[in-house]
């Protein structure tokens, strides 16, 4: 009788230890991931990373300009609109290159191709190239590098115009 009570209590204590151990492990995991992650982006203004790409007139109509350091292409379309595309291929992350003759972005790694709006022309890429919002302010072209936006395909709303 007393034996049963004892083992009952013992197994309860054992179980408690086990759950405490699991909780501690979970906390440690969350703590570790928290430390590994980049600082949180909670203040948009603080983190807005507006890249001054140059004056509107610096970019001829129908041109593609590469910014190698910040890894984007600034595209000026026929109608004068601006589009900033990430150079990172949506397949496995290689850097695409602009091919002037074909008017396409070609990925050297596994031969994906994208048109100048970033839409997929050739698989294996699963979706269009990511884009950055462009803001045009008093004749200056600003690219918001803090917001890399994923998309299925091209939409007119992604183009910015100088008013």
């Amino acid at each position: 009788m007393t034996n049963e009570i004892k083992t009952g209590r013992r197994s309860f204590i054992k179980r408690t230890w086990k759950w405490l151990g699991i909780a501690a492990l979970a906390e440690l995991t969350i703590f570790t991931f928290g430390m590994l992650r980049q600082g949180k982006k909670n203040d948009d203004k603080l983190n807005a990373n507006l890249m001054d790409a140059g004056g509107v007139e610096d970019f001829p109509i129908n041109s593609v300009t590469a910014d190698r350091v910040n890894r984007y292409f600034l595209i000026r379309l026929e109608d004068g609109g601006f589009l900033a595309l990430s150079i990172i291929c949506s397949h496995l992350g290689c850097s695409v290159l602009w091919n002037k003759e074909k008017e396409q972005f070609l990925c050297p790694c596994h031969s994906s191709a994208f048109d100048k709006f970033g839409d997929v022309m050739n698989s294996p890429a699963p979706r269009a190239l990511d884009y950055f919002p462009v803001i045009i302010e008093s004749g200056k072209v600003l690219v918001d590098l803090s917001k890399k936006i994923q998309r299925r395909g091209f939409d007119k709303k992604q183009i910015s115009y100088a008013i």
């Binding site: 991931f33 980049q38 496995l92 790694c109 596994h110 031969s111």
Partner: protein, 433 residues
Amino acid sequence: MNVNSDLGKHTRPIYNLILHLHPKKVKASTLRFKLSFGLGGMSALLVVVQIFTGLLLKFHYVPNPEGAYNSILAINENLLFGKLAHNIHYWSAILLLWITFLHMLRVFFTGAYRKPRQATWTFGVLLLILVVLSNFTGYLLPWDQLSYWAVTVSTSILDYVPLIGSTAREALLGGQDVAGGTLSNFFNLHTGIIPLLLLALMVHHFWQIRKAGGLIVSEEEKDSPLVDTQPNLVARELVVSLVLIAFILLLGVLFDAPLRERANPFFSPNPAKAPWYFMGLQELLIHFHPFFAVVVIPIILFAGIFYLPYFKLKDGVQGIWFISQKGRETGKISAIAGFIFTIIFILLSEALPDPESILPGNFSIITTGLIPFIFVVVSIYFFMKIIQRKFSINRSEYIQSLFIILIASYSVLSLVGISFRGEGMSLIWPWLL
């Protein structure tokens, strides 16, 4: 009798350390080289070699994108034995992965994962994962074109995991791209967390082996006599260690670790490949919808490997290579079938038109995911049905055949990815190489 009595005073501490890891006596049958091939011991030795050379390299390595590549050049050119240490660290990393993998195969094929060694197997799988992670985190450190793009491509595979994939990737990379944060994360994992975990689990592994009463012993050899560990086991270990160390030194002297140009985030090489041990996965991604290639199939495989020792088996023969004569025959047939079937699958998937072009829209998870997956599962099922009919094999022989098919498939996928994929990842025929 004191086992140390015939040793000089000065060597005693070393012997005490070695003997501390061993029982005093071991069964004579477990000393046979053809039982273990010394593979577990070799893995342990290679881990020690990695830690030794790694700690030395760490004195001169600079873990940031500006300095990393130049510090490797300096290690190679300005240090007295720098190049040798670098080469040894490189070759013995590859050797460690191979030998740990072969050790796993030997444990599997001698049935040594079964009761009472289930947990030894489970922790062994964790050790293998740590060895892979060591290799992977080390791969980035030279910061050349090869390592930069291999890490970019293989961490991008994570992006295809739904819900948690891109968050996990960002945590691992310390940002959105492979950059300074990534190098710092990988360096700390590589020279801190992973080796510590590896050492702790290794010690636990050794303790588990002792607790199970040493290595596996078959029914026939149950009465094999006990012999002293020193010198019977220790001498054998010494020979294996010296041969292995001589071999690594030879590799390090004769062959340099490859080093390409400094990493350039703007220019990707053509083609860009993951490190060789992940090429099977990258090849799988060419043939399957990402959800199947990086979620469904890996989860099924890992679940199977972890659960392996807990399958209910009444017929579990232990300590005999490939279970039985029947096991040997069906094993051979399964290996050949796995090879041929995978090659046919790759050629078929290459020859058939892209389903996306016939049926555009959001059906690719069915056309390139579910349908080929069911095709593969059904083919394996019917193949195993035929084998079972013909040889009337029991459950453990069945599991063994299945395991062999999967290993053969992964080998073919890796081989094709590593050797038969050229520019733009298109298939090149072996006779055009």
